[in-house]
């Protein structure tokens, strides 16, 4: 009878000494997979210029109508992106966003990317709308912040020459 008792409690005892799978969030955070779709980030080039050209294709692709884009013209005195056009207003409403990633697929310059931040929080509906300042990545080490003052004639093409995404 003792044998049956012990056999029945085998799993219980095994669990008593086994390591718990609980992760002590927020002190310890489980790393996410590389293609995890978290909060968006607007990327920059290495020289500091923004990749976003304000084309609003992400807004058009978004099934939840979460993105609002307004474009403006770059001048050489005040240049935000290489090319003619940049996004002067860029807002994502995270109460509408469903993190589907269609905006990332639609972007022709790989500017909007869904990164790994998942703990997006806000306390009012107004705060849920993240403007461009909250979405853009910081300036890389060897670049200058935008707006930049550039030499006339360096950025003549309307769209910057792009590396083929298949080149990864």
């Amino acid at each position: 009878m003792l044998v049956e008792l012990l056999r029945g409690l085998k799993t219980t005892f095994k669990m008593m000494i086994a390591k718990p799978v609980t992760i002590q969030y927020p002190e310890v955070k489980r790393p996410v997979r590389p293609r995890y779709k978290g909060r968006h980030e607007l990327k920059r080039y290495d020289n500091g210029l923004e990749k976003c050209i304000g084309c609003a294709l992400c807004a058009a692709a978004c099934p939840a109508d979460a993105i609002f884009v307004e474009a403006s013209e770059n001048t050489d005195e005040e240049r935000y992106s290489p090319g003619d056009r940049y996004a002067s207003t860029y807002e994502i409403n995270f109460l509408r966003c469903i993190y589907c990633g269609y905006c990332e697929d639609a972007c022709p310059t790989e500017a909007i990317v869904l990164e790994h931040e998942y703990d997006v929080n806000f306390t009012s509906r107004f705060e849920a709308i993240f403007p461009k300042e909250k979405l853009i990545v910081p300036v890389p080490s060897n670049g200058k912040t935008t707006p930049q003052k550039t030499e006339p004639g360096t950025f003549d093409r309307s769209i910057p020459e792009m590396k083929d995404p298949m080149d990864y």
Partner: protein
Amino acid sequence: MTKEVTLTIDGKEVSVPAGSLVVDAAKKAGIDIPVFCYHPKMEPVGMCRQCLVEIGRPAFDRATGEAVLEEDGSPKINWGWKLETSCTNPVSEGMVVKTTSEKAVKGQNDMLEFQLSSHPLDCPVCDKGGECLLQDLTLAHGSAESRFNFNEKRHSEKHFPLGDLIWLDRERCIQCGRCVRFQDEVVGEAVLGFEERGSKTQIMTTSDPGFDSVFAGNTTDICPVGALTTAQFRFGARPWEMEATASVCGECPVGCNTVLNTRRDAKSGGKIIVKRVMPRQNEAVNETWICDKGRFADFSAEGRLLAPKPEEWTEAVAKAAEKLSAAKGDAVFLVDGSLSNEELFNMKSLADEVGGKALCYSEVGGGALTTKSGSYSKSGAGDAILVIGGDLYAEAPIFWLRAKQAADRGAKLIVATEAETRLDAFATTVVRDVRKGLEIAEEVFANAENTVVLYSGDDALAQFCAALNPTSLIGVWAEANTQGAWEMGYEAISDLSALKGKTVYVAGKDALVASAVEAADFVVAQTVSMTEASEKAGVTLASQIAAEAEGTFTSAERRVQRFFSAVQPIGDALPGYVITAQVAEKMGVTLDIDAEDVFSAFSDLNYADLAKVSAEESLLIGGTCYENKQGLGVTLPAKA
């Protein structure tokens, strides 16, 4: 009765008037042949080769003239050995056309491939994206991958300013020639042209200052790609992001039908603003064109009056009513033609009830005489037009365009102005003396069917013009709705010094308010802008602009057209007819406050009559939508 010709397109039989082009006949049969350079309002040139189809004609025996028949009795069809352009081929009896056969489709796809070979990959930054004919046709006829080597694409100048208003992107241009032909054929001012040849062909302007034409903006509508774009709307918004509201242009008395595209704007604090003005098709008024004055009209909120003075509406209305009641029969109700019919009617009603004078300011006289005008958009051979007194090009460009087109169609055009005008080149007779012009007109009108006089001058001139007894007497007023004021019985006034010592309720443009404030004793100013004058006025009532309110305008041709509210009102501004009704209430007079009711009160028509549309006039022409679903308006019948 024009002869009708029957032909078969893709198995469908369709009958069209003789002389029609195959591409138009196909459209009537419901088949859309892809085109680039073809435009229904211009002569076909067959340049882009996109509309290639297979055309077969019935065979005839040369000797006998009899039709050759097949064994089963059907006519033998001789097919052309190569594809032909449907835009340059007129229809012929018994013709058979194949637009979707393998050969035709291959031809159309090939032509598109050629167009795309050096076209830059600008879609994300190009303003035309979303309403671009090249994009639409590529979806229908293009291949998924390009066979052209990207590095070998031709490069040209990207932002070339053609004048102040239009940007040209030479790389995107597909050399269809629509802009050059529009300026040449439709407007008659050939300020655009091609230079260089072969693949280096590009558009340039031959005038100095560049692109010197008041119809320049129309080329951005007809350009099938984003080569011609307006500087005002550059990067404004995407076409699918904007709402479209039907409106009527308020810049001049032609009354062009427009569409106001609006969108919420972050720069103006989240308000919905007018982003651009596009034309709406109305064959009797403006066809599919609008002039630059209307297209680039200012809708900004700068300098707008946000609140009445005194600040509370109840106070302001009470004070106004008090002062006007005190003046009794001596009160003057002064307007100009910038108000809508509804606003004008409420003012007039109030004036009538209290016994005051209802005056409309206009420098152009003869308002009472313009009682039987009508549209001259179909004038041609056998008709006559007299343009006397003013420069139609500066005052009412679309009237100028219609007069020029009438002259092209054979109408006798007499220009009698003191100074040179741009109409001189198209006129049959030009005199630099007004009196002489009237004499010549009398002679010419005697032999003409439909006669039109467009005058810009004082009462005396109007009298002389009326004496010619034309079919239409059109006064080229300074404002959009001056005709509406005459219809309601306003008295004309051109010298405002007569306001001395009076209490005036003025509603209209800044200049009018300023003159009233200078001359009169006490002024109640119903206006839209904050100016020195509005500060000095006794009471200022903040009014809405046409884009914010509902209403109707009566054009100089006596056509009543309705416009709709496109944007929210600014600040505390109220519609003009509501303000007048509130003032009237305090004075013991009851007036309607709903635009539709006001309209029905003074007119035999109602809004539903104005909303009638014609199926033939809702066309998608060459990539741009000119659809008019909101109404064509109605021309008032001649007054007895």
